[in-house]
């Protein structure tokens, strides 16, 4: 087997290559797979990578094991698998060397610090780790998050009103249960499709408003709840100016809510971000953020700050339920925040992405076609407009030929809207210097 395993998620890539070869019939059923050690040596990866890939294939029934003789390809029912059931959309596409759609710099995660803190929590807390966690999360982590929000965002938050949840989508689901399925949710267009999808999945209807969010637009939409990223919209990079924020707050004060999704405030490159909308009106704004982007995608942890009245309702509904995030992870993250490790990690990331951004910009400028770069103000993505390109499809095809996966602004449209044409969204959050040298 001669697979190219460059990329952030070696085990997954290996697993999907073998799976695809089994499905396409390239590897016949009954074939013996190479031993873990041999394949690891062949591909210059660790044995554990091969083992994890084999285990995934085993778990999904693509291969079977025979004691003392190894792993064999199973008879796969192609009918069942015909549709290529991918465990994750966000896998790196085969043959894609540089993914400019998704990714995190997992390589930069301070794993040794994290492991050290985990060991410390394990011995410090001991059996306390088995205790039931209140629905809104561990008090220590809530206090650490409040202190961090004060330091990083200047928000004065009552730790009581924080809710810790298993990632952003999990929290959106709680919001729908809190505010009601009968409410109309406004989402930004173009925007991050998963937000709209999550509202619909939870049984609520959504309506689109222009990504340059204006109160007039929102009012016209008849929405009850507005989901925005006022400090940095994805993918357009739009920022809601102060006067407009005030108008949106007036709109909300009449019984409505604003969800302030501050998803990448850590990565702003230039200047201080505008004051949070939450600070303008803590009674009408739900502030939310996640650690999946800043720490690791496997870290399913996000949080929201609820207005006092909503927090009351939250307890009425959820106090019987347990928090979905294990206490162990909560205590470790609290130690990371309180010990200043998180902020040190963010600073390291920012420096790193500053360099990556410069390298990406240089690459774009060196292209033999005109390219206009639009600054989105964030350290994680930029917009590259190709005014002479015939179409968005053309841009993506040209990129694909070079092993690059990317999306255009139009791919983020949830409904028709005026956007820049032939404009690529260059999300370099998963890029490395090595990968940029394609």
């Amino acid at each position: 087997m001669l697979y190219d395993l460059k990329g952030k998620n070696k085990y997954y890539t290996l697993y999907s290559y073998i799976r695809d070869d089994i499905l396409s019939g390239k590897i016949k059923s009954g074939t013996k797979l190479p031993s873990k050690r041999a394949l690891a040596q062949d591909l210059s990866v660790s044995v554990i990578t091969v083992q994890t890939a084999y285990e995934q294939l085993l778990a999904e029934g693509y291969i079977y094991s025979e004691e003392r003789s190894g792993y064999f390809v199973a008879e796969v029912n192609v009918d069942f698998h015909g549709k290529r059931e991918l465990p994750c959309e966000e896998e790196t596409e085969r043959g894609c060397k540089l993914d400019l759609v998704n990714g995190t710099a997992v390589e930069l995660f301070p794993f040794s610090v994290w492991a050290k803190l985990m060991r410390k929590v394990l011995s410090d807390c001991g059996e306390h780790l088995l205790e039931r966690v209140p629905c809104s999360g561990d008090g220590e982590l809530k206090r650490a998050v409040a202190a961090y929000l004060y330091r990083a965002r200047g928000i004065d938050v009552d730790p009581r009103h924080i809710v810790i949840g298993a990632g952003a989508e999990y929290l959106y689901g709680i919001i729908v249960k809190l505010l009601g399925r009968d409410k109309l949710y406004a989402v930004e267009n173009p925007g991050y499709g998963k937000i709209a999808a999550t509202y619909r999945l939870n049984g609520a209807e959504y309506v689109c408003v222009n990504a340059d969010v204006s109160s007039a637009d929102v009012e016209k939409s008849k929405a009850d709840v507005l989901h925005v990223s006022p400090s940095h919209q994805y993918p357009t990079g739009a920022v809601i100016p102060a006067a407009e924020r005030a108008r949106l707050i007036s709109w909300a004060v009449g019984g409505r809510y604003v969800i302030e999704d501050d998803y990448d405030s850590e990565f702003r490159l230039s200047g201080k971000p505008l004051q949070c909308m939450y600070s303008l009106c803590p009674d009408r704004v739900i502030y939310m953020n996640t650690f999946s982007k800043s720490l690791a995608p496997s870290m399913r942890m996000g949080y929201m700050v609820l207005p006092p009245a909503l927090y009351k309702r939250y307890l009425e509904i959820f106090s019987n339920f347990a928090c979905a995030v294990p206490l162990f992870e909560q205590k470790t993250l609290a130690a990371m925040l309180d010990g200043g490790y998180f902020e040190r990690h963010i600073n390291r990331l920012k420096n790193y992405y500053r360099g990556i951004r410069a390298a990406v910009t240089a690459k774009l400028k060196a292209l033999p076609v005109p390219c206009r770069i639009h600054d989105t103000g964030s350290g994680l993505h930029l917009l590259a407009e190709f005014p002479t390109a015939p179409s968005d499809e053309f841009i993506k095809e040209e990129a694909e030929k070079r092993g690059i996966r990317l999306k255009c602004l139009s791919d983020y449209l949830l409904a028709p809207a005026e956007i820049i044409k032939c404009c690529a969204v260059i999300n370099y959050s998963g890029a490395t210097y090595e990968k940029l040298e394609i």
Copy 2:
């Protein structure tokens, strides 16, 4: 402070005692609290218990700290707190020495094994722990669960069709999203109220069927989905006989589903449980179980086995989402299952509960009033009927006078139904020999 901290959750009990005393005005605002060390000594608990309680109070704003001088009681806004917002309903009530409603024998959790496996996973997997987990869970854990189900329940399950989730309620939510909010869900009556509440919270309607579930009853209910615990109903202990199971399967085959909630199959005392309904018809039965009861309540981990067609739909809907359970916990549990530690733990628990059950039975028989014990076939609860008691309320009040918290069968009624009157549900899952000596 002279608090009695007997009970399973010392930190929480201490926290709630102090909180209540602050709310009731017994401890005035501005009062300095004793140092952690001093209070720990006074109450004969560890410093970490006091620290955790103080931190929770701090996080919730009941106390504040001043550098180098200690903790002080905050000015508490009684309006906001008037309603006593409890983080968890399931706290041990103040003055209650024996809780016969909730609980787990956390004391018996093999913590040292768990900690050892955690350390092993941490060093074996290293940075792999940061990788994104496919929505349905880690392949290794799915395989371990399938192997365990085969050993323990004789079910032959394709590991691919297993979905790992953050606890039972989380999985109910996924089921509603999979099957649809427009479906009518039948739940057992009397029954575990949280199941019905979760369906409603997720926007689905439910209808009650008699706990002695009969296909005629289910048919009459017009339900599309039946949620049952066929091997052991809670609280009645009813078991659905084989002939009735077959009729229910025929009912389901016409486009309907059965959710087989096998929540305490590990704790059956006598004989082998009946064959799972899942094995009768893997196309129409969703099998589910959780580890919260058998390991620890903080372990938010459950799983379900989906029929192939539903698993396909599951991937279509959820493949973009990440699994809510951290990979770290998944790998540790897989190691616990594969290493045989889980089954050893369960056997230890069963022996322990056999003793507790005998002690409880002896206590009941020694009462100066007639008491008829109904065997529910499980090692975690029994029914005690008091034919001469005037009312259910009387039984609970008499128990409360003795520091015992319990519920009667009538407390589990979701709708009117014929049940045994004056019948206490003695759930001794959180009882210890020490606590039984009230």
